[in-house]
């Protein structure tokens, strides 16, 4: 599910073939060199005598690498030129790396309104994507192995990564630059949808949060308000407008929680709220262990209902 050897986009495909060619070439050279070494050690002296000469070094150590590398270098540069190329009309997405999650923003596009989400990058199949990345704190690195290389998220700089998803599916991305305590638990999902599904998703995401329709969910929303969750999280359409943590307007629609750590359901949400500092110590959110089981279920239920 997360592999550079299973390319799902053009760039990853190109790099995959580069990898294959270099691996095969490398193995052949390795066999040649070690073969010669063993021959030099074990062959009969008169048979190996031709090898014990300056000519061996000139041919094997100087001419051969120069010829091989003179071919590899332009090939590598060509792959580099064709990889990660900005395309006009690409879908712009902005991502900000934070300790230890991903803020995702879809800017307004003609009549489509802007909106934010977190830890989930949803893209249409076949349309070029241009992700602008930066960081809110320390350096992170954005990497979805199935779609190509990584790009660092550096405070004060905006980098871009361009790619096109060619197969619908769910892929996993990770932070590749060590970013502190929970670097190991900083992942996200990339969901590639057919264009029509993507448009539908986008329209849904831009809407304000759903109103709770059951008493327990109303209770959950009340707990959310009273607990001060809104000082860090935004739920569009309610008074919660904190900017510090992930946007929760449609948190129920996401596949995973905790930056790609757990499947998203009431149980994991409740566990997360009560035990963040146990499950992901060092994360910026405190544990809310004092909530009663019933309250916790109501709160988690409310969040889960925010489809």
């Amino acid at each position: 599910m997360q592999s550079a050897l299973d390319p799902a986009g053009g760039d990853a495909q190109r790099i995959y073939w580069l990898t294959v060619i270099m691996t095969v070439g490398g193995i052949l050279i390795f066999l040649l060199v070690t073969g010669l070494l063993l021959y030099a050690i074990f062959a009969a002296p008169e048979r190996r005598a031709w090898l014990g000469d300056r000519r061996t070094i000139i041919v094997g150590g100087l001419a051969f690498p120069i010829v091989v590398l003179s071919m590899l270098l332009p090939y590598g540069l060509t792959v580099m030129r064709d990889t990660d190329v900005p395309t006009p009309g690409a879908l712009p997405i902005e991502m900000v790396g934070e300790q230890y999650w991903w803020r995702v923003r879809y800017p307004a596009d003609q009549e489509r309104a802007e909106f934010s989400t977190a830890n989930e990058l949803v893209v249409p199949v076949g349309r070029p994507i241009s992700v602008s990345v930066t960081s809110a704190d320390v350096i992170h690195s954005f990497w979805i192995p199935n779609f190509g290389g990584k790009i660092d998220m550096i405070p004060g700089r905006i980098n871009r990564l361009n790619f096109t998803a060619e197969r619908p599916g769910i892929y996993r991305g990770v932070c590749a630059e060590f970013c502190g305590d929970q670097h190991a638990r900083m992942a996200f999902d990339l969901i590639a949808l057919e264009p029509a599904e993507f448009e539908a998703w986008r329209v849904d995401q831009a809407k304000p949060a759903l109103e709770p329709d059951l008493p327990s969910l109303v209770r959950g929303r009340e707990l959310f308000r009273m607990g001060g969750c809104g000082s860090c999280h935004v739920v569009r359409g309610t008074e919660a407008d904190g900017q510090f943590g992930p946007d929760l307007t449609h948190v129920g629609s996401r596949r995973t929680i905790g930056a790609g750590q757990f499947p998203n359901n009431i149980g994991t949400l409740a566990g997360w709220i009560a035990n963040v500092q146990h499950i992901k110590p060092g994360a910026r959110m405190p544990s809310y262990g004092s909530l009663t089981g019933e309250d916790l279920r109501a709160l988690a239920g409310y969040l889960e209902s925010l489809k």
Binding site: L37, G76, A176, F178
Partner: protein, 855 residues
């Protein structure tokens, strides 16, 4: 003074040796007495290269074991997914310490240590030219290194990765002292590495066997020369980097804080400008060792000596064009990346040359499969594979995938274990007979090799795949169902195989290693080079002249003649320790260097230096300053005994060669050391100017920022005038010290005394006028950069102040005259450097913003 020409002495046959037999009564006893090591507790004050070398190697190996244990803990943690053996906090400290200790406390010191032991012996020098400097380097490293490692037991170890990228390591995200331990601890151990490098450069260039011209220099010496030059060029970048980051942490000068005009990428440039050459700094000495071992084991001269020299020099240069390949994913323009891609590919060629040279040598002889040979063969296997994956990651698009994944972990361990650890183990097995009563066990050696070779491949081969299927580096755990479980378990098993190999090696060492010099196991391999001559603490009884690269093979009676004292300088002419200084190109004898003997000064200076940095780390500023002053005091005490002057008339060393026992000017060994030190200082300064320009580049329209005024041009002009004037006064003083009649004119201290306030005034004006404009060092990176340049200059001026005062003191004590003037020469060179650096600093700080007009 000119080098005495040698009309016939060393390019003729062996029959007429320089000194006749029998040797005079008591000559050998006097030599032994001069080199006798101190006994009892005073043994710690020994400075001779053999003792310091062995301690140094032992300490480096201790850190290899310790850092290896850290790695084992990490491998156990990663053996299965979601393991909770160690938490994230400890794990992050573990991998930071593993990398840091392996790189800074094991790899560089180990190769430097080996050369402290081997280099003089291989060149038949009596000792290194500055034995107290190597003792200082060792003790500073020993004390500092152990304390630094000890932090792991208190949870105080740095945890930002061995690369310490800000902003993660800046005060905001790492408020505790952990990061300071890295910055001060490692910054200071680099100073020890530089001290060693200066020693090695002067040692290779100036203290060789007679006639060991550049074409006859052992490849190991070539490798160490290139190694030391690379340290001198590369390490200043990291020293400056640590200085800047520590200033940011301590005083809030925003070099790396983006909101205030800094840039985190500046650190990465400085770090990797050191960090990539570092890999070759570790690798080249190891190839030098291999080039010594292979000819011995194949019993044939090395094939392609000149090509190997080419490879070493080319690697030395090209490795400085690779640093950005650690930054391929930082979003720099593809064009910029491509230059580094080209250089990274190019550096493969010299490595190819070396590999094929060894293959050709093996083919031209008959390889005996001893333990050293096995390690060399293992090295060739592992390193070739690591080199090939190195070419792969040099291709940027592939690196975008591999970067910061386990693929790179695999690659770097193949290169470093293959390229450095295996040759080092080969070297242990190969050279132990030169320092021990018994050789190490060949039978156990095979087990050590077998376990380590299999272990390395079992551990790291799977990691190539682990990385390509998506596992990033530096994660303390990983989820189930990622497909990484089995591969990680295999890697963990491999790691324990390596550990088992190392454990058997330790057992072998304990059973067979018995340190000795006079009755060592001897030339058990029938090697061809001079370290296998019979020796003692004085190294060889007499200093041979050599006519080939394989003297022990081509001069059959050499051992016997050297031991009987038939070659040069068979005794001591001053009654103390001496070394023969030779010319750098063709190794003609130039003068007899009076080598300092044991003393507490280097030990105490090192302990106080370490205490200064370590106490500073824990913010005990006052005790720290006291230790700093004591350290400087000890250094002055130590220097006071040096620069002895011509204590006797020129002496006959044999073969009709009469040499002075003292020399000054460009022939002098400390003149060379001073030049190298100036290169180090110049590199620190160059890196600082680079940082200034880099910060300009990332701050369009804000250089200087709004509301900052550049001081009026009159002030920098005055400052520049003062620098020039002080330099001129010192030049006049130097003219006063000409001639051979041993005068010590009164004008010299007066001139220096006048020049000192001038040079101090120059930098004081510079600082004061920036302060006057209200420029704040913490408001914006511009101010930080300006004050950094000014501060560095002030540091140099203060050092000049101490050196000037010291020179005056020497005059007052009657230890300075126009012949005995090495102290003055050193001060003079440093003075010129300081004044020159001051002028360039003024030009940049005041000229550049005017030139660009705030662009």
């Amino acid at each position: 003074m000119n080098a005495p020409e040698l009309p016939k002495a060393f390019e003729r046959g062996e029959e007429e040796l320089p000194n006749p037999l029998p040797r005079p009564e008591g000559e050998f006893e006097a030599l032994k007495r001069a080199w006798k090591p101190p006994r009892g507790l005073r043994f710690l004050t020994a400075v001779n290269n053999t003792y310091v070398g062995v301690w140094y190697v032992g300490t480096a190996f201790l850190f290899f074991i310790l850092a290896g244990i850290l790695a084992l803990i990490m491998r156990v943690q990663l053996a299965r997914p979601e393991n909770d053996l160690v938490g994230h906090g400890l794990y992050n400290q573990l991998f930071t310490m593993h990398g840091t200790v392996m790189m800074f406390l094991f790899a560089v010191p180990a190769v430097e240590a080996a050369s402290v032991y081997l280099l003089p012996n291989m060149q038949a020098a009596r000792d290194l030219p500055f034995p107290r400097l190597s003792a200082y380097a060792f003790w500073a490293y020993f004390v500092g290194g152990l304390v630094f490692f000890g932090t792991i037991f208190f949870g105080l170890s740095p945890d930002g990765g061995w690369f310490m990228y800000p902003p993660l390591t800046s005060t905001k995200y790492s408020p505790a002292d952990n990061a300071d331990w890295w910055l001060l601890g490692i910054g200071f151990i680099e100073i020890s590495a530089i001290a060693g490098a200066i020693e090695i450069i002067v040692g290779v260039m100036k203290t060789r066997a007679v006639g060991m011209s550049l074409d006859k220099l052992p490849i190991y010496s070539w490798a160490m020369l290139v190694f030391a030059v690379m340290i001198v060029i590369g390490f200043p970048a990291i020293i400056l980097g640590t200085l800047l980051l520590e200033m940011e942490r301590a005083f809030d000068w925003p070099f790396f804080i983006a909101e205030r005009g800094g840039d985190p990428l500046l650190w990465q440039h400085l770090f990797w400008f050191f960090g990539h050459p570092e890999v070759y700094i570790i690798f080249l000495p190891a190839t030098g060792m291999v080039s010594m071992i292979v000819p011995t084991m194949a019993q044939t001269p090395l094939v392609g000596y000149r090509l190997i020299v080419l490879a070493l020099i080319a690697t030395g240069f090209l490795s400085f064009g690779l640093w950005v390949h650690h930054m391929f994913a930082t979003g720099l323009p593809k064009m910029s990346l491509s230059f580094f891609s080209a250089a990274s590919t190019a550096v493969a060629v010299p490595s190819g040359i070396q590999v094929f040279a060894w293959i050709a040598t093996i083919a031209s002889g008959r390889m005996r499969l001893t333990t050293p040979s096995l390690f060399v063969i293992g090295f060739l296997f592992i390193f070739t594979l690591g080199g090939l994956t190195g070419v792969m990651v040099a291709v940027a698009p592939f690196d975008w995938q591999a970067h910061d994944s386990y693929f790179v972990v695999a690659h770097l361990h193949y290169v470093l274990i293959g390229g450095m650890v295996f040759p080092l183990f080969a070297a242990f097995y190969y050279w132990v007979p030169a320092a021990s009563k018994r050789a190490l066990s060949e039978r156990l050696g095979r087990w050590v090799f077998g376990l380590m070779f299999l272990g390395v491949n079992v551990t790291f081969l799977p990691m190539h795949i682990t990385g390509l299927i998506g596992m990033p580096r530096r994660v303390y755990t990983y989820p189930v169902e990622m497909g990484w479980d089995a591969l990680n378990l295999v890697s963990t098993i491999g790691a324990f195989m390596i550990a088992a190999g190392v454990a058997i090696f330790l057992y072998d060492l304990a059973r067979n290693f018995r340190f000795t010099l006079e009755d060592n196991a001897g030339n058990v391999w029938n090697a061809s080079t001079l370290e296998w001559l019979p020796n003692g603490t004085y190294n060889t009884r007499s200093i041979p002249s050599v006519v080939s690269r394989d003297p022990l093979w081509e001069q059959p009676n050499l051992s016997k003649d050297v031991e009987e004292g038939r070659y040069y300088l068979p005794g001591t002419v001053t009654g103390g320790r001496e070394a023969l200084v030779t010319s750098p190109f063709d190794a003609r004898p130039q003068y007899i260097l009076q080598v300092p003997g044991p003393g507490w000064q280097p030990v105490l200076a090192a302990v106080f230096t370490a205490a200064f940095f370590l106490l500073l780390t824990v913010k005990l500023v006052f005790p720290s300053v006291i230790c700093g002053v004591l350290a400087v005091g000890c250094v002055i005490w130590w220097l006071w005994e040096t620069d002895p002057g011509p204590v006797r008339p020129p002496a006959d060393i044999g073969g009709g060669i009469v040499l002075p026992v003292y020399a000054t000017g460009p022939m002098n060994h400390s003149w060379w050391a001073m030049i190298v030190l100036m290169v180090v200082a110049g590199m620190v300064f160059t890196c600082l100017i680079f940082s200034y320009l880099f910060l300009w580049l990332v701050n369009p329209g804000a250089w200087p920022p709004q509301g900052v005024r550049i001081p009026d041009w009159i002030w920098p002009s005055l400052s520049a005038f003062l620098y020039c004037a002080s330099g001129a006064l010192v030049a006049v003083a130097s003219r006063q010290l000409r001639g051979d009649d041993r005068r010590s004119p009164r004008s010299v201290p007066v001139l220096i005394g006048v020049a000192l306030p001038l040079v101090c005034g120059a930098s004081a004006i510079d600082l004061w006028m920036q302060w006057e404009t209200g420029l704040s060092p913490s408001a914006h990176a511009y101010g930080a950069a300006v004050y950094a340049i000014t501060s560095l200059q002030i540091f140099f001026v203060l050092t000049t102040l101490v050196m000037g005062a010291y020179t005056i003191a020497r005059w007052l004590a009657g230890r300075l005259d126009n012949v005995r003037r090495t102290t003055f020469d050193n001060t003079m060179l440093f003075w010129y450097y300081t004044a020159g650096q001051g002028l360039v600093a003024l030009l940049v700080v005041h000229g550049f913003p005017r030139l660009t007009g705030g662009l």
